[in-house]
């Protein structure tokens, strides 16, 4: 997945699409920005200058789908977090999770979320639930899995048609919803795919590259200032304003 920050307007369509697709319940009363369930969120990063000169960039942030040495997989005491060799997706199995939250402390991208409340839908709203995604209960962790329910449905559809999975069969909800087509999704291992082409562009970068986690989500921006501000040593600036 490659996200073009220059195209992102911060509209939040991806966030809504993600929540609808993945049966994320409406925020419970008392939820704060720090306790909500947002598999995907858009963070606004300002450059710290005062009003007329300020420059902001919107960073859609979700599970970065780290490569093999993911910080979260190895720490889970009971194999409730898995690395899928076939797709490269880091998966979370809510029914296996005991809610120790070790994976959440391990994740440098803060992309994992905990169900602090029991999920509740207003009466009638449960009719809108996506049958391809299970709902989660209180006390377990969850996160973006590149709309795995869609992958399963796509696989079944391909099998019904006796054909292999095609790139167009499966796109995550956020990709579909983005009005500016800022998010490109596909097989990074396929050198001919659009996503590979986008990923090999010199203005792409990954968050916290130095940690060696090898995220499969890339960001790109033609602005060197943006690239610099998102890749530099995280703790060098204190003035930065953050709006989650």
């Amino acid at each position: 997945m490659v996200i073009d920050l220059d195209r992102c307007t911060g509209c939040g369509a991806c966030v809504i699409a993600c929540a609808v697709e993945n049966n994320v319940p409406p925020a419970h009363e008392g939820t704060t920005p720090r306790t909500g369930l947002t598999w995907m969120r858009v963070v606004r990063v300002d450059d710290g200058r005062s009003f007329p000169d300020t420059r902001s960039v919107f960073v859609p942030l979700m599970c970065q789908q780290c490569d093999h040495h993911t910080p979260c997989v190895s720490v889970c005491p009971q194999n409730a977090v898995e690395y899928d060799e076939e797709t490269g997706i880091v998966t979370q199995v809510p029914v296996r999770c005991l809610g120790c939250r070790y994976c959440m402390t391990a994740c440098p991208y803060h992309a994992r979320y905990f169900n602090w409340w029991d999920p509740e839908w207003p009466a009638g709203m449960e009719q809108t639930l996506n049958p391809d995604v299970s709902t989660r209960m209180r006390g377990v962790a969850e996160k973006c899995n590149f709309c795995h329910g869609r992958l399963q449905a796509a696989r079944a559809k391909a099998a019904a048609g006796s054909r292999p999975l095609a790139p167009d069969d499966y796109q995550p909800a956020c990709v579909e919803a983005c009005p500016t087509e800022a998010i490109v999704f596909g097989d990074l291992n396929d050198p001919r795919s659009t996503v590979s082409a986008a990923a090999s562009s010199p203005d792409t970068f990954r968050l916290l590259e130095h940690l060696g986690t090898g995220p499969k989500v890339r960001y790109r921006s033609r602005s060197a200032a943006v690239r610099e501000s998102l890749t530099r040593n995280s703790v060098s600036s204190e003035k930065e304003q953050v709006h989650g």
Partner: protein, 410 residues
């Protein structure tokens, strides 16, 4: 009233006075249990933890009490394996303290996890690469061992020993205690280490991450050493405290000195290795992950003073004090040094758990602060109340300090 339960030859306060001491703790325990009920019935939204501060006061409490409870395994190791006979004076008390610390920690963990009923999944589907798996397995086994070590103390109660089968079981069990001491040492070694490894392996938290020796990060070994150093100090501290509260000598001064010496020497080794580890981290590990170590100390109240306090003020200083023969002559100074050593370890656990999570990782992250909710604090206090209660009852009805009778008549 309950004099037939009190060990013969020991003087204990009257039952009403004991009740007056116990009741406030029972009340505190009750409040805590109510908080626990809230957390279990309504979920962890009762706490102030959040997605970023996923570990809070409870994990900190767990790491701390388990480090302080290390006195049980280490005293057992010195007494039964290395045959330091003089430590027989505190072994019973050490076992009770160990049991309290570990059972309290496990109890809090059961509240802390989101789905306590699934706790057994870790045994059924263990991920052996996770430090938490190692911790879970070892602590469960070790708590069992501690409970087994506690049993003879209880069976020795004056009323229970009248029953021949209890006495026989106690006698036979006690003869095999060296096996349990050995297993306890083995298990403690691994889980004290794994608790350190818990944070040391977090490559996503450059503040805590340490490179590995073999399969364990350096914090693994530092935690073992620091726990072994804090354990005897804590035993010293509690024995002294109990003797102050009970207003009678419980152990001979030379036992205090022995404990102090043991604690001091291990603490010294620990502080030196910790200093080396910190230097390696500042110069190699942190820059390798793209971070400047000094930048971690620019947030809030977490200045570099914390490093100084941890290593020098509450590390090197108490180590030297505990080793000094002049300090050892004065129980007051010895106790002060032991308290400082324990505080140093408590601070270390605080830095590893709370500071690690408070510091930002992403370039646009904010520094976080977190204040535990009253439910968290009450649960925390309930563990302390539980410990005081278990210890008070044990002290009243069991013979925790074998030297007490002799010291009384001396």
């Amino acid at each position: 009233m309950d004099s037939s339960l009190i060990p013969r030859g020991l003087q204990r306060t009257s039952f009403p006075r004991f009740l007056a001491w116990v009741l406030p703790w029972v009340a505190l325990l009750g409040v805590g249990l109510f908080a626990v009920y809230l957390c279990l019935a309504y979920g962890l939204n009762q706490t102030n933890m959040d997605n970023r501060f996923a570990f809070g006061a409870w994990i900190y409490l767990d790491l701390t009490v388990i480090a302080l409870g290390a006195g049980a395994f280490f005293t057992g190791f010195l007494l039964y394996i290395l045959r330091r006979k003089e430590l027989a004076a505190v072994i019973n008390s050490a076992v009770v303290i160990g049991f309290i610390c570990y059972s309290g920690a496990v109890a809090v963990l059961m509240v802390d996890v989101g789905q306590p009923l699934r706790a057994w999944f870790t045994f059924w589907h263990p991920n052996v690469h996770s430090m938490l798996t190692e911790v879970t397995f070892c602590i469960t086994c070790y708590l069992t061992v501690l409970a087994i070590e506690y049993v003879p103390l209880i069976l020795k109660n004056r009323k229970l020993r009248k029953n021949a089968s209890m006495l026989l079981f106690e006698f036979q069990l006690h003869k095999l205690m060296v096996v349990f001491a050995g297993i306890g040492t083995f298990l403690s070694f691994f889980h004290q280490g794994s608790l350190g490894g818990l944070y040391g392996v977090l490559v996503g938290r450059p503040f805590a991450f340490r490179p590995a020796f073999g399969i364990w990060p350096s914090t693994f070994f530092l935690f073992i050493l620091s726990a072994a150093a804090a354990g005897p100090s804590f035993i010293l501290l509690t024995s002294w405290l109990v003797s102050k509260i009970a207003r009678k000598p419980l152990v001979a001064p030379d036992v205090y000195r022995t404990l102090g010496r043991i604690s001091g020497s291990i603490l010294l080794v620990y502080v030196l290795l910790k200093a080396v580890d910190t230097l390696v981290w500042i110069n190699r590990t942190a820059p390798g992950l793209g971070f400047q170590a000094s930048s971690f100390y620019r947030y809030g109240d977490f200045g570099s003073w914390i490093l100084f306090a941890e290593i020098v003020l509450l590390g090197l200083l108490p180590a030297l004090m505990l080793l000094s023969s002049r300090v050892a002559q004065h129980t007051g100074w010895l106790v002060t040094a032991a308290a400082m050593a324990c505080s140093g370890i408590v601070l270390n656990r605080f830095v590893m758990t709370i500071q690690t999570l408070a510091l930002p990782t992403l370039p646009f992250d904010a520094f976080l602060s977190y204040v535990p909710s009253w439910q968290e604090v009450a649960t925390f206090l309930a563990v302390i109340a539980y410990g005081v209660l278990v210890y008070s009852f044990s002290f009243r009805y069991l013979n925790l300090f074998p030297q007490e009778r002799e010291l009384r008549s001396a």
